[in-house]
Symmetry: C2
């Protein structure tokens, strides 16, 4: 299988699992189920799910047992986007090329849809068919990664950065390491945990994750400045408009591209040193650099 | 120990555990930690925590091992109140006699504080010192109870009830069974699960919970109509003002009181039948009927 085929395979298995996890049926809660399915399904590259499944595989994990955890990651990701788009947060009307959840369903329903997705991510893991110790370690890894000193903490820092355009490079890195990095890191580590991998492999997976997470964010900033709204599926230039400090504004586009490429080289090194250098995980690094949206 | 002393003891142990679980320290996330501590600590009767701890005890559980789960319940309760008070939901400015979280800290911080509390509830349980099977069953019981077909589902129904003042008694009961009942039910059942109680006892605990949960909601409606703002710590008459259907408006005050008393008699019966009729749990039923706020 080529990298693209493998990525599509991971994505479609995750998509099917998500669709089955939260089916639409006639019930008094139908509207919020519709809203959360609107934000959860049919979009996104499922990179987080793919990373978990790929690390699970490269560490010797077999079968579909890791799929509920990959699904949980995507539920968490979708919840964070719904809440992030709300008027009191980033106030974004567009997401993945369509109206964001609160535009389509109203604020109250969007708020509850986000809450429901976060809750269901844990519900889904807690009821998964998996050895209890591994289940607890993987779910505990995720809960730590997305809490107040993880992803949510990054959102807090991001909000306060917006009112201070002259923040330092370190502050920007610290923010992104939590806001987007923590979930990517959890994805990679959870794959290892679920397969019962050694501490050495877990550490290497986290190193790889930190590097590609930062590179991912840097390329996001570059895309925000260089793409069209059509390519990106969300408004471009929004960072510049809000006077938000970005890697693109800190380094300039060319230097940002160079740093990003350097990070991905280091990420591949971490994999090789721990003998986890599957073609898919190596190609994933390149994919992040070359993606258009 | 009298009932009040036992209730105070459960509450103060839970309060100390909550305080220790989310300490305030100097960090970039300080504001959201302050906000969540503002809503989490120093208020509330900790009825849900007390129910969990009391069922744990009556089923033979020993020591402090159930405390992280009692704390998790209170974190979930606090998160639900913060999000419920937001402008896009009930838009309440006052909670427990003080400005609600978004009034004190702003909407964005309140939203994230709620998200953080929900996340931390799971984090806290997942890292608790407890036999893995019991931990998974208890946390899984909670996640199911507060999801889209549980507590969140009740909030969805409650929102749609507001625009239809002539809803049926059954619809009102179904709404409350989820919106407030599901968490109370989880509290009682989790106490049993953590102590390794039989299926029979778990079923009886759920029956007890359903009865006191409904009685709790009925007395809430009565209090809303009969108390002063000072006694209640939140605006009174708000239900009437919003033309919201309540048990008080459906039945009238006297009949509502009678139904409530009847439910509590049935609740006690369930306990006796399963030999879980500890003085504390029996008195809890009376306490719910007689409370003033």
């Amino acid at each position: 299988m080529t990298f693209r085929e493998q990525l599509m395979d991971y994505a479609s298995r995750t998509e099917a699992a998500l669709d089955a996890a939260l089916p639409l049926r006639d019930c008094p809660q139908k509207e919020v189920v519709e809203a959360l399915r609107y934000s959860l399904l049919g979009g996104g590259k499922r990179l987080r799910a793919a990373l978990l499944l790929a690390f699970y595989q490269v560490c010797g994990g077999e079968g579909e047992k890791a799929l509920p955890f990959a699904s949980a990651l995507e539920m968490v990701h979708a919840y964070s986007l719904i809440h992030d788009d709300l008027p009191c947060m980033d106030d974004d009307d567009l997401r993945r090329g369509k109206p964001s959840c609160h535009i389509a369903f109203g604020e109250a329903t969007a708020l509850l849809a986000g809450d429901a997705l976060l809750t269901h991510a844990f519900d889904h893991m807690l009821h998964a068919d998996m050895e209890p110790q591994r289940l607890l370690a993987a779910a505990g890894c995720l809960s730590r990664a997305i809490g107040v000193y993880g992803m949510i903490g990054g959102q807090v820092m991001d909000l306060s950065n917006e009112s201070s355009p002259d923040i330092t490079e370190q502050r920007l890195k610290d923010t992104d390491a939590l806001k987007t990095g923590a979930l990517i890191c959890a994805a990679c580590e959870m794959g290892c945990i679920l397969a019962g991998a050694s501490e050495e492999k877990r550490t290497a997976a986290k190193e790889y994750a930190a590097k590609i997470g930062l590179a991912f964010q840097i390329t996001d900033d570059i895309l925000d400045q260089c793409s069209t709204t059509e390519e990106l599926g969300k408004p471009v230039g929004s960072d510049e408009e809000s006077k938000k400090a970005t890697y693109a504004s800190l380094y300039g586009i060319e230097e940002a591209r160079r740093i990003s490429a350097e990070l991905l080289t280091q990420a591949k090194e971490s994999l090789r040193a721990a003998r986890m250098d599957s073609p898919f995980l190596l190609d994933m690094a390149d994919y992040i650099l070359e993606r258009k949206h």
